[in-house]
Symmetry: C2
Subunit: 132 residues, 2 copies
């Protein structure tokens, strides 16, 4: 199949497919006489894997490791589990950071009395002890 078909089959943009090839995540496919890329089912499977992992928030570097691990089916699952667990920790950290930020933001917004900027609580919060 051509790059456009592969792209739409995996909900990926054509440019992204080429990008994955450039950074060595997707193997360079065969070319037609007109220099068009032609992909097979192995490429489709590989790209699906990549997209799914990306959807789960894994970085490209993690995806690279997961791909390498998935190729060696006899290896222990522990490394895969480790990568996923590390990622989960990271996601948890982000959630708690954002949640803290959210409540702070909410507190700031709650103080707004819709007056002028001069006595705006939001601005005041951002720049304490700045006036005059």
């Amino acid at each position: 199949m051509k790059i456009g078909e592969l792209a739409s089959a995996t909900a990926t943009k054509v440019e992204t497919v080429r990008f994955y090839e450039k950074i060595g995540l997707l193997a360079p496919p065969a070319r037609t006489s007109a220099n068009y890329r032609t992909y097979g089912n192995d490429h489709l499977a590989r790209l699906s894997f990549i997209r799914r992992a990306r959807d789960l928030g894994f970085t490209l570097e993690a995806v690279r490791e997961l791909l390498a691990l998935s190729d060696d089916t006899s290896q222990s699952c522990a490394a895969v589990d480790g990568i996923a667990r590390l990622h989960l920790t990271e996601v948890d950290r982000k959630i708690s950071d954002l949640t803290a930020l959210r409540s702070e933001l909410d507190r700031v917004l709650g103080a707004c009395r819709q007056g002028t900027v001069g006595d705006c609580k939001i601005i005041e919060t951002l720049a304490p002890r700045q006036n005059s």
Copy 2:
């Protein structure tokens, strides 16, 4: 004060201070005869504002708008409120995205039986119907 003092007073890196100046967020300060930047209290207040806003997750573009608004104390607070409210919506969206992702990741991880990669549930989840 010199750039290093300003930086440590605001928990910012020296390079970041210079970066803010380059993108026009922080006004270029006076220079000594040796071409060292010398900052005053106005710069300190401005940079504090920027850092506080950044800590609350505002983008540099939003910070730029907030700074412009904060300079005109007679204006209505509504624009400020709008920017903050928009940001809060954005943060909420991120939190719910991450929370959904987190539970999916948790589900995947829960299925891991610590065997070999061949029957690893994590890999299976990522690449369904791929095996020969």
